[in-house]
């Protein structure tokens, strides 16, 4: 038996190089821009840059993306119509690979709108401007979706595992879940993110759960994108349901950076507030405290 020679290590290293010079997003649909312009109008998700906005990641500027879901049952997103039942600002700090998901109740009463969700009826640009004015956060991009394509997109990506926080049984939304991890298909995902009646805090709980869903989506993407080839497989599934004005080459950096963000490092923050009335409408009066300023600074709460 011969003695085995132990090699002397001269160098063992791993390196990653990503040109962080473009946009980044955070959910599984962040890979969507990879396919570029769909041009079909048959899209579940629209990703767009806010006019006049800029982001300079080389200066480690935080990135802010509005994530909007309308109550339109089917049809192309981003064309206006419908109210937003999902309203979020996702903030990313590229340097720290961490960030915040800010969740807004759809009935929030803000300047110019009795209920903020009405801002969507004139298109996502209007909603983004309303959120920018209200929070002071310089949102650079937005993502929009609606019911039917959202369901199909989730299904094509194999569902999303969500840690359901409590019992839900709500006929209007179709939510029927027990607490704990559960892999949701498209319809179940929609039900989970729509349910507001069988929740502890109604509209507040719904938007909080939507934030959980965004976190879960990011976790799914991150796990599956460990194989870089898998990112392009995602594209194939998302392609049919995507509309984007984001350049193709930028999207790779976006996807690679999204892969680096630890969902556990994404705080899920629902804006506090109280319910009341404005005229004859039941609304939520927000009490954000210093939340917006804290997040605006570096994307981290």
């Amino acid at each position: 038996m011969s003695a085995k020679k132990t090699p002397r290590r001269l160098r063992t290293a791993v390196a990653r190089g990503i040109a962080l010079s473009m946009l980044v997003s955070v959910a599984w649909w962040t890979v969507a821009p990879v396919v570029g312009r769909a041009g079909t109008g048959d899209s579940a998700v629209a990703i767009a840059k806010v006019a006049g906005a800029s982001w300079r990641p080389e200066r480690n500027e935080p990135l802010f993306i509005a994530v909007l879901g309308t109550d339109v049952r089917s049809g192309p997103p981003g064309g206006g119509g419908g109210r937003c039942d999902a309203i979020h600002i996702v903030a990313i700090n590229p340097q720290q690979r961490a960030g915040t998901i800010l969740n807004f109740p759809r009935d929030a009463n803000i300047a110019g709108y009795t209920k903020v969700n009405a801002a969507c009826t004139n298109g996502p640009d209007r909603m983004v401007q309303a959120l920018r004015s209200h929070t002071g956060i310089p949102i650079q991009y937005y993502v929009t979706t609606e019911f039917s394509h959202f369901i199909r997109l989730i299904d094509e990506l194999g569902g999303v595992e969500v840690n359901v926080p409590y019992d839900m049984k709500d006929s209007p939304s179709g939510a029927d879940f027990r607490p704990g991890p559960f892999r949701m298909n498209g319809s179940q995902s929609l039900a989970f993110t729509r349910n507001r009646k069988d929740t502890p805090r109604g509209d507040f709980s719904r938007t909080d759960n939507q934030g959980l869903f965004i976190q879960a989506s990011l976790a799914k993407f991150r796990a599956e994108a460990a194989d870089p080839h898998r990112i392009l497989d995602y594209v194939r599934a998302a392609r049919k349901h995507l509309k984007s004005d984001v350049p193709l080459s930028d999207a790779v950096k976006l996807a690679l950076l999204a892969r680096e963000v630890d969902p556990a490092a994404m705080r899920n923050i629902t804006i506090n507030g109280s319910t009341g009335t404005a005229g004859r409408a039941s609304v939520v009066f927000l009490a954000p405290g210093d939340t917006y300023n804290r997040v605006k600074d570096d994307g981290i709460y």
Binding site: P7, R11, V14, A19, V35, P228, H229, R239, S249
Partner: protein, 169 residues
């Protein structure tokens, strides 16, 4: 002076992603492979196989193989991408394995192939300048490829570099 070995990557799996599932996409993707091989041959020649291109560990020929945005990242990671500081103790490098293990292309809506991902394994033996044991070099990597004109450039990378004296297995 030792003879300089040629970089000669062999192709493994060619995978393509065409959301529109057009019948000729496979053919189109395979037609792109030589461009990727050309890039890899240039890269590994400059990074490892051709001592004349090491230039004291600075590897100036590598930069043009990256997109402009990726060049700073490459320059800051030469110790993981190339011979770099090993170049002052190694005289030549003999390739053992040069494999493009898998390449995946994205076929865009207009039929172009603008993006790809290449997974690569490179193994070689470094011969020392003086007395001493050989150095076993194992370099694996995933390279994101971006089409620029008629060629691909590296827009992002994820590499693992292992160099050890003596046999590595």
């Amino acid at each position: 002076m030792a003879e300089v070995a040629e970089a000669a990557f062999q192709t493994g799996v060619v995978h393509l992603v065409d959301p529109l599932e057009r019948p000729d996409s496979g053919e189109k993707a395979h037609a792109e492979v030589p461009r990727v091989i050309a890039l890899l041959n240039s890269f590994y020649s400059s990074a490892f196989l051709d001592p004349a291109k090491w230039q004291g560990g600075l590897h100036p020929d590598l930069a043009p193989l990256f997109t402009a945005e990726a060049q700073p990242g490459a320059a800051g990671n030469l110790t993981n991408l190339a011979m770099s500081d090993l170049s002052d103790r190694i005289e030549s490098v003999e390739p053992l394995r040069q494999t493009l293990d898998k390449v995946t292309f994205l076929v865009a809506e207009d039929g172009s192939v603008p993006i790809g991902v290449a997974s690569v394994t490179f193994e070689a033996t470094g011969k020392p300048a003086g007395d001493g044991p050989d150095v076993t070099i194992t370099h694996t990597g995933h390279y994101w490829l971006q089409r620029e004109g008629d060629e691909y450039k590296i827009s992002a990378f994820e590499v693992s570099m292992n160099a050890a004296e003596g046999p590595d297995r």
